[in-house]
C-alpha cells in the first residue's frame, strides 16, 4: 500500500521532465503556430504569465504540492481549471470503459470456458483464432469499419446515411440516444479486451481442470456441468479478474485512438490534444490520472484476491 507512493512520485518525476525536454512550449505553439510574425518579447511575456520561466524545481514543487492542496492548476491552453476540463469529459470515458468491460466479459468468459472444455477440437481452434484476431486487430480500424458499415448499410436500407451522434447525452436523460452513440466504440474496444480475457479464461480453466480435485469429482460421478460451473470455473477466476482489472485501468487512458475515430470528446482525445498543444500542465495531470487509476486498480484487485481466496493473506 505504501509502495504506491514511490511509484506515483516516480511517475510524476518522469512525466514532468519528459514534457520539459520538448523543445518549445505552449506559448510557441499558440503564438508562432498562427504563422504570423510574433515578437520574441510577446512569447516571453506569455511564458512568464504561465510560470514557465520559473526554475524547474519550483515548477515541480508546485506540481506535486498541488495534490496536497487539491489545486491542480489550469490548462495552459484554455486557461480553465484542469479539474473542469477533466470533469466535462470524465463521464463519457468512464461510461465507455464500463460498457467495453461489459461487452468483453459477456463475450469472453463463455467463449474462453468452451474453448478450454473442448480443448484441441475445432471449437477451440475457432475461439482461439477469434481471440488472437481480436488482439491483432487495431481497434481504431475496427471502429472505422463499423462506421463504414453503419453508413453504407443505413443508406442501402433506409435511404439516409446514419452516423452515431457526436454529442454526449447522459444515459439518465436519453438512454437510447446515449446507447446509440456509445455502443459502437464499446464494441470496437470491447472486442480486443474480450480477446485478452478469453485467452486468460481458457488457460486458467485448463490449468484448474488438471487438478486432482476435478478428477475426484469426476470419479465420484458428479455431473460434468456442476464440475465446470462450481468447481472449476470459480477457481479459475482469479487470474481472469486480474487481467480485467489491469485492462480496465488502462482503458480510461487507452481509449486514445478509439475516441479519435468516433469523434468522441473524452479523456483520450483531450490527451492527444494537450500533447499536440504542448499544454504541460494538462498533459501531466491526465497522465497522473491514468497512473493513479492503474495503481488503485492493482490495489483493489489485490484486496479482492484476498477476499476470494482465503489462502492469500497479506501480512
Amino acid at each position: 500500500m505504501l509502495l504506491m507512493i514511490p511509484t506515483l512520485f516516480g511517475a510524476a518525476l518522469l512525466v514532468f521532465f519528459l514534457l520539459r525536454a520538448i523543445p518549445g512550449d505552449v506559448c510557441e505553439v499558440r503564438l508562432a503556430g498562427t504563422g504570423l510574425y510574433v515578437d520574441e518579447a510577446e512569447i516571453e511575456l506569455c511564458r512568464e504569465k504561465l510560470g514557465l520561466t520559473k526554475p524547474l524545481f519550483v515548477q515541480f514543487y508546485n506540481f506535486v504540492s498541488g495534490y496536497f492542496t487539491w489545486d491542480l492548476g489550469e490548462s495552459m491552453w484554455t486557461g480553465k481549471d484542469v479539474t473542469y476540463e477533466i470533469a466535462i469529459r470524465f463521464k463519457l470515458s468512464v461510461q465507455l470503459a464500463i460498457m467495453a468491460t461489459l461487452v468483453a466479459v459477456i463475450l469472453a468468459i463463455p467463449l474462453g470456458a468452451i474453448s478450454a472444455i473442448k480443448q484441441d477440437t475445432w471449437v477451440d481452434y475457432t475461439v482461439r483464432t477469434f481471440s488472437i484476431a481480436g488482439i491483432a486487430m487495431p481497434s481504431f480500424w475496427l471502429g472505422i469499419i463499423i462506421i463504414l458499415g453503419l453508413l453504407i448499410g443505413s443508406q442501402k436500407f433506409f435511404g439516409d446515411p446514419w452516423m452515431p451522434p457526436i454529442y454526449y447525452v447522459s444515459p439518465f436523460e436519453d438512454f437510447w440516444g446515449n446507447m446509440s452513440q456509445l455502443i459502437w466504440p464499446a464494441v470496437a474496444t470491447g472486442y480486443r479486451y474480450s480477446a485478452v480475457v478469453a485467452r486468460m479464461t481458457r488457460s486458467a480453466l485448463l490449468e484448474v481442470l488438471r487438478e486432482d480435485y476435478i478428477r475426484t469429482a469426476r470419479a465420484k460421478g458428479m455431473v460434468e456441468k456442476i464440475i465446470i460451473n462450481r468447481h472449476a470455473l470459480k477457481n479459475s477466476m482469479l487470474p481472469v479478474l486480474t487481467i480485467i482489472g489491469i485492462e480496465f485501468a488502462f482503458l480510461i487512458g487507452g481509449l486514445v485512438v478509439t475516441e479519435q475515430v468516433f469523434n468522441l470528446n473524452g479523456l483520450g482525445r483531450l490527451f492527444v490534444e494537450s500533447v499536440g498543444a504542448q499544454d504541460f500542465n494538462l498533459t501531466q495531470q491526465l497522465v497522473m490520472l491514468v497512473v493513479v487509476a492503474a495503481v488503485l486498480t492493482n490495489l483493489v484487485v489485490d484486496l479482492v484476491y484476498a477476499w476470494l481466496d482465503p489462502r492469500i493473506r497479506y501480512g
Binding site: I145, V196, I243, V257, V287
Partner: protein, 298 residues
C-alpha cells in the same frame, strides 16, 4: 578398443536423423496455428525483400489521373486520394512495419534481458531500485508513454522506434528477472563465482543462455505489439510521416469521407495490420508452447 569405437560410432549414426522436411511436417501437425503464423511471417518477409519486383508502381509518387480508382485489374486494391496504388503501398508498408517492429522488439527485449538478469544476479539495493523504476514505467499504458515520448522527440520513424522500445524494456526485464531468480539459486552459478569469474561473464555466459525461453517468447510478442503500436501512432499523425508508406498512415482520414468516396481505401491496410500481427501472435504462441509450457498465461 578400435572395434568398440566403430560400433559406438555406427550406433550413433543409426539413429534416424530427422530431415528438416519431416520436422516441419511434425510442427504443422502439432502446432497447426503456429505453422500458419510462421507462414504469414514468411510471406511478409518475402514481400519486403521483393517489394520492387512484386509491384510495377511507385509507392510514393502521386498520379493525378488515377485518383480514387476502385479495385480493378490494374489496381487490385484500388488507389488512394493521391492516385497511389494501395497494394503497392501495403507491400512497401510491410517494410516499414517490419523494420519498426523488429528493431523495437529486438532492442527492447535484449536490453530487458540484460537488465533483468543483472537485477536478479546482483539483488540488494540495485534490484530494489531497478524494480521501482520498472513499477513506474509499467504504471503507464503503453500508448500513453509512447505518445509522450514521441511528443518529446518529434514524429519520425526513428523516434517512433525509440518510443516503442522504451516501454518494452521493463516488461521484458520483469519476466526475465523472475526466471533468472530461480537460476541464480542453482549451484553452478556459485561454482562459477568460486572459480573467480567476473560478474559480466557470469551474467552473459552462464545466466543469459538459460533464460532464452522467456526472452524469445517476449521477442515475438513484442514484434506484433510494436507493429500495432506503430500503426496507432502513425494513425494519430505522431508516427511515420508521409510520404513513407505505412499502414497506420494509410488509415488516416475520417470514416465518413471514405464511406462516400472510397470505402476500399481503409479496408485493405487494416487487413494487412491485422494479418501481420495475427501471424506474429500465432507464431509466438506456438513458440511458447514448445519452449515453455509453464508460461501458458495470457
Amino acid at each position: 578398443m578400435a572395434s568398440v569405437n566403430t560400433t559406438t560410432l555406427s550406433a550413433v549414426e543409426d539413429i534416424p536423423r530427422k530431415h528438416w522436411f519431416v520436422s516441419f511436417g511434425q510442427l504443422c501437425r502439432q502446432q497447426p496455428l503456429g505453422a500458419a503464423g510462421g507462414l504469414i511471417v514468411l510471406v511478409m518477409l518475402l514481400a519486403t525483400v521483393f517489394a520492387n519486383v512484386l509491384s510495377p508502381y511507385d509507392p510514393e509518387a502521386a498520379s493525378f489521373e488515377h485518383m480514387l480508382v476502385p479495385p480493378s485489374a490494374d489496381f487490385w486494391f484500388g488507389t488512394d486520394a493521391f492516385g497511389r496504388d494501395i497494394l503497392t503501398r501495403i507491400i512497401y508498408g510491410a517494410r516499414t512495419a517490419l523494420f519498426v517492429g523488429f528493431t523495437a522488439a529486438f532492442v527492447g527485449a535484449t536490453a530487458g534481458l540484460v537488465l533483468g538478469v543483472a537485477s536478479a544476479y546482483y539483488g540488494g539495493l540495485f534490484d530494489l531500485i531497478f524494480q521501482r523504476v520498472v513499477d513506474v514505467v509499467m504504471a503507464f499504458p503503453l500508448i500513453v508513454l509512447a505518445l509522450a515520448i514521441v511528443a518529446t522527440l518529434g514524429a519520425s520513424t526513428v523516434n517512433v522506434i525509440i518510443a516503442i522500445t522504451i516501454p518494452f524494456i521493463p516488461q521484458c526485464a520483469r519476466v526475465v528477472r523472475s526466471s533468472a531468480l530461480a537460476i541464480r539459486e542453482i549451484p553452478y552459478v556459485d561454482a562459477a563465482r568460486a572459480l573467480g569469474f567476473g560478474h559480466a561473464r557470469i551474467i552473459l555466459r552462464h545466466m543469459v543462455p538459460n533464460v532464452m525461453a522467456p526472452y524469445l517468447i517476449m521477442l515475438t510478442t513484442f514484434v506484433g505489439h510494436a507493429i500495432l503500436l506503430e500503426a496507432s501512432l502513425s494513425y494519430l499523425g505522431l508516427g511515420v510521416q508521409e510520404p513513407t508508406p505505412a499502414w497506420g498512415l494509410m488509415l488516416q482520414g475520417g470514416a465518413e469521407e471514405f464511406a462516400e468516396s472510397a470505402p476500399w481505401v481503409p479496408i485493405f491496410p487494416g487487413l494487412a495490420i491485422t494479418l501481420a500481427v495475427f501471424g506474429f501472435n500465432l507464431f509466438g504462441d506456438a513458440l511458447r508452447d514448445i519452449l515453455d509450457p509453464r508460461l501458458r498465461s495470457r
